[in-house]
Symmetry: C2
Subunit: 198 residues, 2 copies
DNA sequence: ATTGTGTTTAACAAAATTGTCAATAAATTT
DNA sequence: AAATTTATTGACAATTTTGTTAAACACAAT
C-alpha cells in the first residue's frame, strides 16, 4: 500500500548508490561493477532496470539538475528578505554538500562529455527574478554595485568552490580533515560579511 | 646541439597533447587511443615512452602540480605590494586559464581516484609567508578581518570557480560563449573590489 | 498445484581498451 | 657503408568492461 518499508525497490537503490558514488565520493568513472558492488546487487540488474550504463548516467545527471533547481527555486520564491534568502541558501547548500560535495563538478565533467543541460527556460526565469532583487539591494546600498550576474558569480563561487575542490585545497593548504571541517563551518559568516556591506 | 626545432620529440608531444585533452578540454577519461589520435601518433608510442596509461596520467598530474606551484611562487616572492601581488596573480591565472581551464578540476578528480599531492612541505612554506602578509594587510585595514586561510579561500574561489565551472554556469545562467567571455574579462575588477576595502 | 509475472542470477558473448612483441624504418655512430 | 641504436608500426594477446540470454527464483493470483 504505502512505499515499501524494506530496502527493496532495487531500481531506486541502484540510482541512490550511483548518486552516492558520483556526487558523494567523486568517483566519476566508476564501472557498473563498482556501482553494483556498492549497492550490494548483481551487476546485471543495472542493465535490467536501466538498459545501459549510459542511460543510468543520464538519468542521474538529470536528477542532479533537478536537485540544483529545487534548492534555488525554494530560495528565490520564499517570502523573506534578500539577506535572509542568501543566508538560507548558504545553509541549504552546506547541508546538501555534506552528502553530495561533488555534485557540481560531476555536472561539469558530464557536460564536457557531451551531456547537456535541460530546462534552461525555467532557470532563466528564476535568475531574472533574482537579478532584480540583487539590483534593488545595490540601490539600497547593502551590497556593492556591480552587474547582478557578477554578484551571483561571487556568491556561488564563495559558497561552492571550497566544497567542490576540497581534496585539492585541503591537501595543498595542509589541513587535516577536522581543521578543514572547521574552516567550512566558519565559512557562512565569512561569506555573508564578504557579500554584504556592514 | 640546441633543442629540436621541428615538432619532433614525440614524448613531449604526447605529454602536451594529454595536457590539452585533460586540462584544456576537460576530457578526463580519454582513452590512450583518443590521446594518440589527438597527437597524431601511433597509440603504442604511449606505451613506448610512458610504459602505461596510468604512468602517463601520473606524470601529467605531477606537471599540473608544478604549474600551480610556480604561479603561486612567483607571486609570493615578488618584491611588490600585497595588492599588486593579488592583481598579478589574477592576471597570471586568467591567462593560463585560457589554455587550461580545467586544471584544478582535473586535479580534484585525480585525487578522488587515489592520486595524491606531493611536495606539501614547500607549499606550506609559501602559504605561511603569504598568511603573514594577509594578516598585515588586515591590520592596515585594507582588507576585512578574518582568518587568513579564509581570505585565501575567498581569493581562489572568486578567481577559479567561474573558470572551472564554466560549462555548468554558462549553460544554467543562459550566457553565450561571447557574453561569458565578457563576464570573465570584467571579473578581475570585480574580484579586486570584493577583496579590498575601498 | 499451477500459472503467470516480475526479479535475480550465472554463464556467456561482444565490445572496448590496454599492453606486448617482433618486424620495419629512421637516424646516429663507427 | 655497415653497424648500432632509437623510433615507429601493425598484428596480436590479455584484460577490462559492458551487454545479452536463458534459467532459477520468489511470490501472488487463479
Amino acid at each position: 500500500m504505502s512505499a515499501k518499508i524494506t530496502d527493496q525497490d532495487t531500481e531506486q537503490l541502484i540510482k541512490d548508490t550511483a548518486k552516492r558514488v558520483f556526487f558523494g565520493e567523486g568517483r566519476f568513472n566508476a564501472t557498473t561493477q563498482e556501482i553494483a558492488d556498492a549497492a550490494g546487487v548483481n551487476r546485471t540488474l543495472i542493465n535490467y532496470y536501466f538498459r545501459s550504463r549510459n542511460n543510468l548516467f543520464d538519468i542521474v545527471f538529470q536528477d542532479a539538475q533537478e536537485q540544483e533547481h529545487n534548492i534555488l527555486e525554494e530560495i528565490v520564491f520564499a517570502d523573506i528578505s534578500f539577506k535572509e534568502k542568501i543566508s538560507r541558501n548558504l545553509d541549504a547548500f552546506f547541508e546538501q554538500s555534506k552528502k553530495y560535495p561533488y555534485l557540481e563538478i560531476y555536472m561539469v565533467t558530464q557536460m564536457n562529455q557531451g551531456n547537456c543541460y535541460k530546462d534552461k527556460e525555467h532557470m532563466n526565469l528564476l535568475l531574472d527574478k533574482f537579478y532584480l532583487e540583487v539590483a534593488l539591494e545595490m540601490e539600497r546600498g547593502n551590497i556593492h554595485k556591480m552587474r547582478p550576474e557578477q554578484f551571483v558569480l561571487n556568491f556561488v563561487s564563495l559558497m561552492s568552490f571550497p566544497v567542490s575542490m576540497r581534496p585539492l585545497l585541503q591537501e595543498t593548504m595542509g589541513f587535516t580533515k577536522e581543521s578543514y571541517d572547521t574552516l567550512l563551518e566558519e565559512r557562512k559568516d565569512v561569506i555573508m560579511n564578504t557579500l554584504f556591506i556592514k
